[in-house]
Symmetry: C2
């Protein structure tokens, strides 16, 4: 019996896609990678996923797990051999349980992140993971890539939000690891090994996640600053002054936000005059367990001192939810503004916070020397040391000229990241995009240990081949 027939027997013929119906699954959403597949299979249960994997394994057919197809690194796109089966988890989309006394919820991998957030809110709880793609990415993909986002400063990455997993292994067995425990020291940390492994060791089918109390009030502030160093000092003071109430600390180059308001005139900076022309801006979010007035008072005390000490040149505290949303909207419009400016070369890097100022100075200077006039687009989650350090063409350059230098730019920036003890993938994962780059920056020993684990858990090398590690 053919592989296709066997797969149809498991999930039903309607859920085995071939030909053009596969198109949305074989191209990544940025359109950088296009692959081919034998079929796209859409199982509806963990048992069906396990049965699909068993069929693939017995036919030596590669398996590419797929969620919301929002990977920025081609992590869910098959290669061009056409041999792989794409296993789409979208139909595993049930919230299985919410336990408010235990502050946990158990959800299936195909749940859209926003649906998970809303289910938690419906139970008067917060599921804090929040990122730009939340309307279409799935929690399974978030787990597979250990996604980050804007709340990491307070709540950690996806890994920190997961207590238990259900996983279909590379042999098609089901690991029932859906524990809702804050403490469990009974053996090796399989959970964290599967999280972030990008589908190369097994398929995450469900997870038990941590919930938190909803904040009583949130307050947002935007600051104008002269230097990145000042932003780092303000971050340190904000951590001390607000404790864990500080749930967001974003930093943005002035010219980047100025481009946002130039391109989208319906948006406005909350500053006038010189402050609006500031070289740097920061966006702070305070989540308070008391009241809006209390949050406001805290902001005024800490930010007032920072202004007095000359660390902050101007500050605007949102007075209502609309103003707060407008501030976040400025931040979230940066990628759109980037797109308006034409193609750019993007880096998702992290650096120890103590070295970020120097990293930006040194790297900007090195880029200018090598590519005079190139434009810097620097913003990111300063509280996590995570910068989106992007580069747009010089005024006298064409897009083609910029893109022709893409790999030289990557190498210059990533070499600088490495020299500053940073990571070349902070929150987007490796996928295909950075797989080969990784061999430049990881030690041979670390790559060897990773390969030993890969071989131990996926001896035939069928799970998402060519992602993370070279085949």
């Amino acid at each position: 019996m053919s592989v296709l027939k066997q797969l149809q027997d498991i999930v039903g013929a309607a859920q085995v896609l071939t030909g053009e119906a596969m198109d949305p699954y074989v191209v990544d959403w940025r359109g950088r990678y296009r692959g081919q597949a034998l079929a796209v299979v859409r199982p509806a249960s963990t048992q069906e996923v396990a049965d699909v994997v068993k069929v693939c394994v017995s036919n030596k057919t590669p398996i590419v797990p797929s969620g919301g197809n929002t990977s920025l690194c081609g992590g869910a796109t098959p290669d061009d051999t056409g041999r792989a089966v794409v296993v789409c988890l979208a139909r595993l989309n049930k919230v299985r349980a919410i336990d408010t006394d235990n502050d946990t919820m158990t959800v299936e991998a195909g749940c859209i992140l926003q649906a998970v957030q809303e289910a938690a809110r419906g139970a008067d709880r917060l599921f804090p993971l929040s990122l730009a793609a939340e309307g279409s990415c799935t929690i399974g993909g978030n787990l597979a890539t250990n996604a980050g986002g804007t709340q990491v400063l307070r709540y950690g990455n996806t890994r920190d939000l997961a207590l238990g997993l259900e996983v279909v292994t590379a042999e098609g067995e089901i690991w029932h690891g859906l524990r809702g425990l804050r403490k469990d020291n009974t053996g090796y940390d399989l959970r964290d090994l599967f999280i972030g492994s990008e589908g190369t060791l097994g398929i995450i089918t469900a997870a038990t996640l941590k919930l938190y109390p909803l904040p009583v009030a949130q307050r947002t502030a935007m600051l104008a600053l002269n230097t990145m160093e000042d932003a780092i000092t303000v971050l340190s003071r904000a951590r001390a002054g607000f404790g864990a109430s500080l749930t967001g600390f974003e930093v943005m180059m002035g010219p980047v936000l100025q481009a946002v308001v130039r391109l989208f005139p319906q948006q406005r900076l909350p500053f006038e005059g010189a402050s609006a022309q500031s070289p740097w801006f920061a966006l702070l979010e305070l989540s308070d367990s008391e009241s809006a007035e209390h949050a406001q008072g805290r902001f005024e005390a800490v930010l007032g001192a920072a202004i007095e000490d000359g660390l902050v040149t101007d500050a605007a505290i949102a007075e209502n939810i609309a103003q707060s949303k407008a501030m976040w909207h400025l931040r979230e419009s940066i990628p759109l503004a980037e797109a308006e400016l034409g193609k750019s070369i993007k880096h998702d890097v992290s650096i120890p916070i103590s070295s970020i100022g120097r990293f930006v100075q040194v790297t900007n200077a090195a880029l200018q020397k090598r590519f005079p006039g190139i434009q810097h687009i620097v913003f990111g989650h300063l509280g996590d040391g995570n910068l989106h350090y992007n580069v747009a063409r010089a005024p006298n350059q064409t897009e083609q000229e910029l893109l022709a230098s893409q790999y030289d730019v990557y190498q210059l920036v990533h070499d600088s990241v490495h020299a500053h003890a940073g990571s070349i993938s902070a929150e987007h994962g490796v996928g295909q995009l950075k797989r080969d780059e990784l061999t430049r920056y990881k030690s041979e020993l670390e790559l060897k240990l990773m390969k030993q684990i890969k071989t131990a858990l996926d001896p035939q090398g069928l799970m998402n081949p060519g992602k993370v590690l070279q085949a």
Copy 2:
């Protein structure tokens, strides 16, 4: 050349102990396990550890890593074959770096936990890991066992406090993974695999740890309660009302604290009359980033409401540091009081918080039915779902009779833990003590995955054999 001679060449003859000099290293501190060793080696650097491992590997000599020898599960005690070399990490005790801007510190494995806390405090930062053995346990042992303690509710287990590791692998190579990054998604999570593996996959020689701002003020309160269910409701309200300022939530059976003040008359409960006879007590700690007055006000608001609603029968808020220390001293005296009461059978378990009340009821009843008159000693970190669920002899029983039923008691309690979706080792690890029990509660698949990883990273099975997994 003999193994001993080779080891002496690496660390110097004075640091290779044999004969009686090995005594402190071959018995665990509770005196439950006594092993034998070929030698105890005390390397002074990571390179020396690596060289020692290489010598052992080439001679097929088992290796038992040792820190402060405070394992409660015999995790650092060699078996009785006398073939193993104990590798004591105590001389790797340098604080290598503190980076206050990045809020990280890098310490060697042999640093005493208390020294790590003090080094952080000296830099005006908090390293929050805190547990009873902190004056003698080492951070390497804390990492190897993923130790818990009293601050987990807010700051997590040791795993959550580590950003990077340096590890000597089972082949004697050095993995330089001392990253100080909050976000790093570049491959498999080797860090969390080594953490909690109890020296069975490699030897942790150093770690980069997270630091936090010191709280501006701390306030402690003790509550008298009628039931465990009420304690759970108060926990939920405290989490909502205090947010992340809630850094401790301990629960204790009334008769246990009453035994403490009976046995140690210099200690006193902060209650009089009926409240002092309460069936349950809770200990709360609030760490405030504003002021002592603010913490006091928050306590009064949330606890006042809990009293009005009948959830709490009485509450005492410590008015100064001495009173606060006295409350914690009551809690910390429970193990000493237990020892005064004679030998007890101890369980370190975790349960989803929503099931803890039922677990205690059902398990107490089952124990009473099977062992009439047996005494319950129940206390623990309710905020983490972690109970120390211990049992002392019935009045008409001798210690010998109690201990004769030890394995039946283990099985009854652990079966109940398992039936309530809990863990039989919350924060103490597996070691030798629970290695065989584990096979009763872990699925065959999970044990198989663990063995596959063990074989991949330690193919000769020389790293701490007989711990965690059966040899």
